[in-house]
């Protein structure tokens, strides 16, 4: 994996580390500098000194989502207190899931359940990391929404209760910086005041670029966001993010945190 730190202009100090902004390709990163704002939780020691699972961390020793689930049930859980992450039910504790992610509540999708335990997708690296949480101290909810991104067709479809409610052309990762395939989830809903090509709304997901360890001072988090140049939609042009039209972004802002996102070719 390339370990690349791409720096943005001050005007793109947020999620607008957006590649060659003139043409919408990933081949020519913007040259100037920004100040990344790390998640405070990433710097905080957590339960028993174990690392936290956030978009800023990489956790080894956890199982990955290897079952290739055809669909998820829409069940999402929120830890009401920092929860230990186990490699298997009753297994060793290797990390902690904090109550917040990027300033908002932590909601993660449930992959499978056994009595007393829930297996969830995590927001930390590597992609598709999973862990088991005990039932205690979890709030459970149901999201009817799911998002599917087809990178080959460069389209995003939003589903509600299994039915498509909108589909839009989008820009996906360029050949050298593809949008990572597989299941992930809506991690956060962020608004920014600073001007940016991404626009004021950025919706990070639980996945990271597989080719960029860092980007713009951030950890390479993939996100949904807008883009000012309409010509980019329908192209493979980003560093991994999914650039969406305004109507798509408006619909996506209603999608509960933790809602599953499936990225396929």
């Amino acid at each position: 994996m390339r370990s690349t730190v791409l720096l943005c202009t001050a005007a793109l100090a947020v999620s607008g580390c957006a590649g060659n902004t003139a043409t919408g390709t990933a081949s020519s990163p913007p040259p100037a500098q920004t100040e990344a704002i790390p998640d405070p939780a990433a710097r905080r020691s957590s339960l028993n000194g174990l690392p936290e699972s956030t978009t800023f961390t990489k956790l080894n020793g956890l199982p990955t989502d290897s079952k290739q689930y055809k669909s998820l049930t829409g069940t999402v859980v929120r830890p009401l207190r920092a929860k230990a992450l186990h490699t298997r039910p009753e297994g060793p504790t290797v990390a902690v899931l904090p109550t917040t992610q990027l300033g908002g509540p932590t909601w993660v999708p449930v992959l499978e359940t056994v009595p007393g335990w829930q297996r969830v997708l995590l927001p930390s690296k590597p992609n598709h990391s999973t862990a088991w949480l005990s039932d205690e101290g979890l709030e459970t909810a149901h999201t009817p929404y799911a998002v599917r991104v087809r990178t080959g067709k460069r389209r995003l479809t939003l589903y509600k209760s299994g039915e498509p409610v909108g589909t839009w052309p989008v820009a996906v990762g360029a050949d050298g910086t593809p949008t990572p395939p597989g299941w992930t989830f809506v991690l956060a809903s962020m608004s920014q005041k600073a001007p940016s090509r991404t626009g004021p709304v950025v919706l990070p997901v639980g996945a990271h670029s597989a080719t960029l360890d860092t980007f713009g001072g951030g950890p390479g988090t993939v996100a949904f966001h807008g883009w000012p140049d309409q010509k980019v939609f329908g192209k493979a042009a980003s560093h991994g993010c999914v650039r969406v039209p305004e109507a798509a972004l408006k619909a996506l802002t209603l999608v509960p945190l933790g809602s599953p996102v499936l990225i396929t070719s």
Partner: protein, 207 residues
Amino acid sequence: MKTLTAVLAAAALTAMPVAAHAKTKRMLYGSAYGLSAEGLIAVAPTPWVVSTTEDTVTKSLVTVPANPLLRGTVNNATASLARASASVVDVAVIALGLQASAIKASCDGGVGGASLADVRLGGQQIPLYPPVNFALNVPLGSLGGAEVTLNRQVRNRDGSLTVTAVHVNVVLAGATTQSIDIAKVTCFRAQAAPAPDFVPGTLPVTG
């Protein structure tokens, strides 16, 4: 086979009537019980707990009424609308040679699973956490056998999920003569997840 046939025939003479289940038509509810049997030998769902709200109903430490088919102690049966679990210990289905130290089923917000500890079933290896609808066949002589489904999960028409840790159908001469359920729970989906609030902040993402 003779043993099973004899047991079933003898029991048929003294079979208990199947208990009337809770009448919950068109009503959303969560439910749980530890053990039940229908057919030649009937054992009412024990203990049958039902909740139509988020309030939890629980019954603990209930021993199955004496019968020639199965035994066990229901450690716990608990249900609310969106969460249910049942745990049975020291389980034995005598005619099948099935024994387990603990059998559990759970359902939470519309997803569920099962666990079976220290299971003995005709020398077959049984995983602690069997996959969904894990099927086994237990031969019972020339007349038939038992179809055993572990972690049986059924999505009901009303949207609820029913998880049965162990479901047994005894088929003799081509007909189902006996069914057994161990640790059976039903729950509905959880409350709707909230639409997110925007959080002011910045994160450099991969544009």
